[in-house]
């Protein structure tokens, strides 16, 4: 039997219906309900499951009631209930616990209906251990871990489940700070990476099926950097799967979410803080290798705050090497990459056109500019 997990976050999307920009936290949920919001995530999950071919060899694992059981039963399924819920209202902790149990039960994939907040809850316990795909049902859908629509998610799974060797790719979990959004400030941050099915036609933010797989492209970029990096230069490697390919290429341990430093092929500092970087830069010339986040395309100031304005003042424009697969850049639709270090002078200094490395001896022109809100 193939085991699949289904998690529905029943309250996802309710805040958006009544103009609350999100549904994070019980207070906001109460406010949303009082304003007349009704649950819609189950409906969106239903739109997905309607297109999903429910083969008889699939065993569904889910949580009790509205978090998955009820919907699966309407489709004639007899799901295995991993997580009982005896309350009417569900919380983020319920999502996390269910996802954790699914991981332990060895599911092939977790299908969830929710938004960025739900993805954030899942990545916190699942990490990159289990493939995950989201049915877009929340208010905030910034993370490229969702199908384009509920229907597209269903078709995506149909294809993926049929593959003899289904592939996955790492995608960022991004989330907006809802409190700031309610003040009309758009601020996303990076909360981790999920492994999502590699079905380029269907994932949020259009993807380009490149002749090379994403992994091969990332390795090609890493080779280009390593071939060009001058001897005795530090290579400060920012967070991300594209940048971490550099360390992998050298057989070094990587920190997907942190900043590592290599020199002459050796790892000399791991998961650095601002102070570590400042100290290293006192005596060494350096290249700074960064990749933008998906969604808004932040290069600096989101998920890599340790590379602060102070650190950047020790470097020059020529030291900044932007790396990204062509697919990632295309998903940003020619929008500029953003920097928001909190220091307008530094942001201005680093603004302008760059050559982003997209492969071996392959580059694409990209524009970098200060934050949108300033």
């Amino acid at each position: 039997m193939r085991k699949l997990g289904l998690i529905i976050n029943p309250i996802a999307g309710m805040g958006g219906q009544v103009g609350l920009k999100g549904t994070d936290g019980t207070e906001i949920l109460k406010q949303a309900i009082s304003l007349g919001a009704i649950p819609s995530a189950t409906q969106k999950a239903e739109r997905c499951l309607r297109l999903l071919v429910l083969e008889s060899d699939i065993c569904w694992l889910t949580a009790e009631g509205a978090m998955g059981e009820d919907l699966l039963r309407t489709f004639g399924q007899s799901p295995h209930i991993l997580y009982p819920i005896d309350r009417k209202e569900t919380t983020a902790a319920d999502t996390q616990r269910t996802a954790e149990l699914m991981k332990d039960a060895g599911v092939e994939l977790i299908l969830f209906a929710g938004g960025d907040g739900t993805a954030r809850n899942i990545v916190a316990v699942v990490g990159t251990d289990v493939p995950v795909i989201g049915i877009p049902a929340g208010v905030k859908i910034c993370s490229p871990v969702f199908g384009k629509t509920p229907e597209a998610t269903g078709q995506l799974l149909n294809r993926w489940l049929k593959r003899t060797e289904p592939q996955t790719i790492l995608r960022e979990v991004l989330d907006l700070d809802e409190a700031l959004v309610r003040q009309d400030r758009i601020e996303t941050d990076l909360f981790g990476y999920l492994r999502v099915p590699a079905e380029p036609d269907y994932v949020q933010n259009r993807k380009a099926p490149t002749p090379l797989s994403e992994r091969d492209s990332q390795m090609a970029i890493a080779l280009d950097i390593l071939d060009e990096l001058p001897k005795d230069y530090l290579c400060i490697v920012g967070p991300g799967s594209t940048t971490s390919a550099l360390l992998q290429m050298l057989g070094l341990p990587m920190t997907l979410m942190g900043v590592d430093v290599i020199k002459n092929g050796e790892l000399i500092a791991k998961d650095c803080a601002e102070a570590d970087l400042l100290r290293l830069l006192e005596t060494n010339p350096a290249w700074l290798v960064l990749t933008p986040t998906g969604g808004q395309g932040y290069l600096l100031g989101r998920g890599n705050q340790q590379i602060s304005a102070k650190v950047l003042k020790r470097l020059t424009v020529a030291d900044l090497k932007i790396v990204a697969t062509q697919e990632k850049l295309i998903s940003l639709e020619s929008r500029p990459l953003l920097i928001d270090t909190g220091d307008a002078d530094v942001d201005n200094y680093y603004s302008g056109y760059y050559r982003a490395k997209t492969g071996y001896h392959n580059e694409m022109m990209v524009k970098v500019k200060g934050p949108l809100n300033r």
């Binding site: 199908g147 384009k148 229907e151 259009r206 099926p209 490149t210 850049l329 056109y353 694409m364 022109m365």
Partner: protein
């Protein structure tokens, strides 16, 4: 399964499916097509020992070739022929960027006449005056069409022609002592991928220019990219979107001012005959795919011709030999080009393709060529008008800009509503004998369909195509199961695409397949 009433224009179609093995799998040890009789004694005496005639390095003890009788070979290839579609069977409107037009069969007959088919490329040029004259005259016509000054017909296709351009660029800078310094080639995201790949193979670093909000190459990004390291700018115009960059002369001037060369990918020139030329746009060289715009068949990756033209200043860099006319009026081979890059293909390339294009051009004349461009653009505009009536088909970027000879559409609205992508639509179109090829790389436009009618289809053909596409879109809503499992009436149904992007799993030949199977063991 719900049946949807078809528009009368939507065709009933079913393709043959023979489940035919690969020819190597049909091999039976000892089976023969022809048993060659021993030569007569006089012949044997005259020739001597045959093995001694074959150079040592070309001799093989074992030939890994299939052993099959004549009947089975004939059956095999007839079955395969029934399992293909092509421009002679259906309107190839869905092969956008490929310019698949009608290739007059009479020109194929001409290329097959024994006087040409029986020639040897090494025979004395005095005995090959006819075909040399045709090559020479085609060169003159290409000059008029492009505004450039000399053409070589040696490259066998577009990518080889781009490779030839990159070789000329490298030789040009080498002779000026700037080869080391100039190691970058700039292209655009919507130019053909070979415009990046061929210079990359020549060792250049490739810089892509993304499109601006109108879908045209971003001039500011381009200006930031051009500099003392620029060896060349290689670009298509119109690009694969069908959009023509009206500022192209400003782009080429920037490159010239920085000391680089401008190379024009005119593989598809179908919408520009008599309208715009490479010279006036500031290009130093260009190439035409005779098997696209000039009426010769594509040949499934077989012999085509990427006719490459250059300005007078670059004539001496062209591949050798060129066909020239001597003072006495004879056509002779000029091997004596001072800076020639050498050969990119043996002998003269594919003269049969040059002959077909010569015949095609002569049947039309200059006015006829202009008419080709006008009708190709008119057909494209008509199809666009018909398709945009469907709310699920969009024109990405600035919709008021004219698309010249092809359009890259988007069906992203349909994908959002039904979950079906342009790939699913392509699968279902096969059930009606119509292609939508996946020539949309890179997938910048979401859920793309690239359609190029050319001048060949009639209004009825265009209406059939549009009606079929609309029918398939309707099926996406009303009968999703039918789309999800399509194609149903085509030779091959759905293919498992796992690892399609992994070169380790590719087997382009039987020999590679055997080797990889062995490696896996």
């Amino acid at each position: 399964m719900k049946r949807i009433k078809r528009d009368g224009l939507v065709r009933q179609f079913h393709q043959a499916s023979w489940n035919e093995p690969i020819i190597f799998e049909l091999s039976q040890p000892g089976e023969r097509g022809v048993r060659v009789s021993a030569a007569e004694a006089e012949v044997q005496a005259a020739v001597g020992e045959v093995n001694k005639l074959i150079p040592q390095h070309m001799q093989r003890k074992h030939l890994n070739l299939p052993e099959i009788n004549q009947k089975r070979v004939l059956t095999h290839y007839l079955r395969l022929s029934q399992e293909t579609l092509g421009g002679d069977l259906n309107p190839e409107i869905g092969q956008g960027t490929c310019t698949v037009k009608y290739n007059p069969t009479i020109n194929d007959k001409l290329a097959g006449v024994p006087e040409l088919a029986g020639m040897h490329p090494l025979q004395n040029p005095e005995t090959a005056q006819g075909i040399l004259e045709i090559i020479y005259r085609t060169d003159l016509m290409m000059r008029a069409i492009s505004g450039l000054d000399a053409f070589s017909f040696q490259p066998g296709g577009g990518s080889q022609a781009t490779m030839t351009m990159a070789s000329i660029v490298r030789m040009f800078h080498r002779l000026r002592g700037e080869e080391e310094q100039r190691d970058e080639v700039i292209t655009t995201l919507f130019s053909h991928p070979s415009d990046a790949a061929a210079p990359a193979l020549k060792g250049y670093r490739i810089i892509h220019i993304p499109p601006n909000e109108c879908g045209l190459p971003d001039y500011e990004a381009f200006r930031a990219a051009v500099g003392p390291k620029t060896a060349a700018f290689v670009v298509a115009n119109p690009e694969d979107t069908g959009l023509y960059n009206p500022r192209v002369a400003e782009f080429t001037k920037l490159v010239h001012d920085a000391g680089g060369l401008n190379c024009y990918d005119q593989a598809n020139a179908n919408g520009l005959f008599g309208v715009a030329r490479a010279r006036e746009a500031g290009f130093d060289m260009c190439y035409f795919n005779l098997h696209k715009s000039f009426g010769a068949p594509h040949g499934c990756g077989g012999p085509g011709c990427g006719a490459i033209g250059v300005t007078a200043a670059l004539r001496d860099y062209l591949p050798v030999p060129l066909v020239v006319k001597s003072e006495s009026g004879d056509y002779v081979l000029d091997e004596d080009l001072a800076h020639t890059i050498g050969k990119v293909r043996s002998f003269h390339g594919t003269p049969q393709v040059v002959l077909k294009s010569y015949a095609w051009i002569m049947s039309l004349g200059a006015d006829g060529l202009y008419e080709v461009a006008k009708v190709a653009a008119l057909n494209n505009a008509y199809l666009q008008h018909q398709l945009l009536k469907d709310p699920d088909i969009d024109l990405p970027f600035n919709s008021s800009l004219q698309r010249i000879e092809q359009v890259r559409y988007s069906v992203s609205k349909l994908t959002e509503k039904t979950g079906f992508s342009s790939g699913d639509i392509s699968n279902r179109m096969m059930d009606f004998g119509l292609h939508i090829w996946s020539s949309h790389h890179p997938y910048y436009v979401p859920d793309p369909l690239t359609l190029e009618p050319t001048e060949s289809p009639s209004r009825a053909d265009l209406d059939e195509y549009a009606a079929t596409l609309r029918h398939v879109i309707r099926e996406c809503y009303e009968n999703p199961e039918l789309i999800r499992t399509a194609p149903h009436r085509s030779t091959i149904h759905q293919v498992d695409e796992s690892n399609l992007d992994d070169p380790d799993s590719w087997c382009p030949t039987w020999r590679v397949y055997l080797r990889k199977v062995d490696d896996k063991k």
